[in-house]
């Protein structure tokens, strides 16, 4: 009889170990913050909203339940951390200023990848509301949803180098940063064409001058940064050569009934913008483009990048977008 009890206890102990080890692990896990990443269609970030005190470290353990994701904080220097399926990544965050921070996924995980966002509310003893200056398009009263067409388009791609080699003097008013930000290339072309000193130039030459002015408002570091941001954030929809034909373009253009992954009501089925089209690009000013980037929407699936990109990053991205309309090669 003794050996029967011995056998039973042996079995019970082994079974208890088999069940209690995972359960103990489960309990221990729930003591800390574990963020599960899933594609937006199946839940996105869980949990989505976190709170922490200013200066207090926030320990996060991140894991993915399906595909490769990545964790980054918008408008911060925090480098992105890959979130790998089946593995745990540890990250500790410390915020020195109170506010509402957005965290987001930086590796494309579905057509709705950009909707994978969450917030971290950082509370402090003295929460002052900072007055943030409204973006340019608001101050200018631009309607960034209005349709716009270029009245005139160049016969061939304007080249900054050719423009430089024309050795023309351009009135300083046109060369300021402020002018660049609030005017479209077509407006500059018309203005330059009206200058008495530049009357003798051909239309294409004037376009080259426009290119030269535009290029003078960018730096090669800016273009490099813009290129990286474009490749990581925009190319999947807008296309690697920005022809509006990225890998998700077809899915975005399908009507709601056929598009099971479409998430937001009211999203028009339309292909992403084609930045190689001079009609739409040359009739837009940098401020206009900034508005579209940071606000998104327009009834389409265009994301709003306001909480994600810093202002510097947005201008760098816009500078890069101009390279699809203008050859930015510099004078050596």
């Amino acid at each position: 009889m003794r050996k029967e009890w011995f056998a039973r206890i042996f079995v019970i102990l082994l079974l208890a170990a088999a069940i209690s080890i995972p359960v103990a692990g489960w309990w221990k896990r729930s003591q800390g913050i574990v963020i599960h990443a899933r594609m937006a269609e199946t839940g996105g970030w869980t949990p989505e909203n976190l709170t922490v005190q200013v200066g207090q470290p926030l320990h996060l353990r991140l894991t993915s339940d399906d595909v490769t994701h990545s964790f980054a904080i918008g408008q911060s220097d925090q480098p992105p951390v890959d979130v790998i399926p089946g593995e745990m990544t540890d990250v500790t965050l410390v915020f020195d200023r109170p506010g509402k921070y957005t965290f987001y996924c930086t590796r494309w995980c579905s057509v709705n990848h950009w909707r994978m966002r969450g917030t971290i509310e950082v509370t402090g003893p003295t929460t002052t509301t900072e007055a943030v200056a409204p973006p340019l398009y608001v101050t200018l009263g631009l309607d960034i949803d209005a349709k716009h067409q270029a009245e005139f388009v160049p016969a061939e791609t304007p080249s900054a180098l050719r423009g430089a080699l024309l050795h023309q003097v351009i009135p300083p008013a046109y060369q300021s940063r402020e002018y660049y930000l609030i005017h479209t290339p077509v407006e500059l072309w018309k203005a330059l064409g009206g200058e008495p000193a530049l009357q003798k130039l051909y239309d294409q030459d004037v376009w080259d001058l426009v290119a030269w002015v535009w290029q003078a408002n960018t730096t090669s570091q800016e273009l490099q940064l813009g290129k990286q941001l474009y490749a990581a954030n925009c190319a999947a929809c807008h296309g690697e050569q920005s022809g509006g034909n990225g890998v998700f373009a077809d899915q975005l253009a399908q009507p709601k009934s056929k598009n099971p992954t479409g998430m937001q009501a009211g999203d028009m089925p339309v292909k992403p913008a084609n930045f190689t089209d001079p009609n739409t690009m040359l009739s837009a000013s940098p401020a206009h483009l900034q508005g579209k980037i940071i606000r998104g929407g327009m009834g389409t699936s265009m994301p709003y990048w306001g909480p994600i990109f810093t202002e510097k990053q947005t201008w760098a991205l816009i500078a890069y977008l101009w390279t699809f309309q203008i050859e930015m090669e510099k004078l050596p």
Partner: protein
Amino acid sequence: MSTLQEIPWLDKAAADENAKAIRQARTVRNRYNLLRISWLLPLLINRWPQFVIRAMTLAGFVFTITAGLIGTRVGSHNFAIIFVWIAWWTALKLSFIPFGGRSWCSICPIPLPGDWLQQGGILTKGRGLGLNLHWPKRLKGSWLQSGAFLLIGLFSAVTLTDPRVTGWVFVALFGLSIGLSLVFERRAFCSHICPIGGFTGIYAQTAPIELRVIDTEICAKHDDKSCYRGCPWGLYPVAFRDSATCGLCMECLRACPQDNLALNLRPFGADIGKPRTAKRLDEAFLTLVMLGSVLAFTSVFVGPWGWLKSAAYAIGSLRWVGYALGFLALNLIVLPGLFSLAVWAGQKYTGKKFPLNREIANQAQALLPLGLMAWIAFTVSFALPKWGYVVAVINDPLGWGWNLLGAGNILWSPDVSGFSPVLQVILLLIGLFWSANVARRLADSDYRRTVPIQVFCLAFTLGMLWLLIG
């Protein structure tokens, strides 16, 4: 009906001498009784070693289910998926079955709770629970096991990759086994439903281990059939025609008062190659289902056809219905049809004609070696490249970032691409040679009878070769 019987220690001394004499006296051609090895017999007679191993597999099984149900949903990082479909499957196909026949059944944990409830105790007999009904005669045979295996095949893409599904499937099997043990006598689940039992059984006929009676004269004089009463599978060892049904549980060994049972080492394929008169179409069907399934599994998992994988994975969709119909057609119509045609053609052009049913059941034996080798070759492609996950999953069974072995996030991937194609060719050629040999032996001295069957075997081999290395 009791299923346990202890040998009274008083009689043991005399019985030992007698048993030793029996074991030494009778030497069967081509058989080596492993129980002659002095340390092996006590190890098997004593219930503790087997019990300890089975208790551990039971705990492992419960851990697997838990991991499957609450661990990470990422299949490749979950203990349930990797340990069941990579580690255990490889062990089953590469060592348990080819070298031990139904040896997995001897340590399988699934029937344990049912057994204990039926007996009313683990190592001692108590007041057991259960209705102990006879299994319905119409449901006997391996038809249900074939059906169970086909069911797995239909849902394989999801079962083999989603930890939750694997977890729930095992809960279901466990529940079914316990439930059936409370209604029917003995190991009803193992004998009649378990899909693993189905194919380990038919391939056990090719394996080099068998449990057999030593001297039938002694059995003839023995009125109290203690081996039959002790067998949890309800078998009568004296009447063993082959090793397909014996689960190597060793209970008859413990029950026989004359120690008249031997665990023999024997040549490969000893149970097949002799003409059979029983119309066991169910075994023939299961043999063909195994051939069809290995072709299907190889195409889906190891082939380059993404559309096929997507169809197999998208359960419930129209594409999946197409896949399911194709899978069932292959297993229910195409292969059985072609094989029956081959048997019929073989008979048509020779003298003696046997009933087709009987001849199909008879000739199907020849397909067993080829099937065994094909499944081993498939496992080489399917599982060997993923053995790196086994270490990772021991280190972090639930995908929660544990570091039990200190191995960190290292994923070591064995590069089997150098030798695995050659290995697969060798395995398939061995299978083809062996099957051709068996088919020839069944030819009843007229080799033309088997030519269509040989062609069938060759076509299957070429098909597997193309899928694996083409």
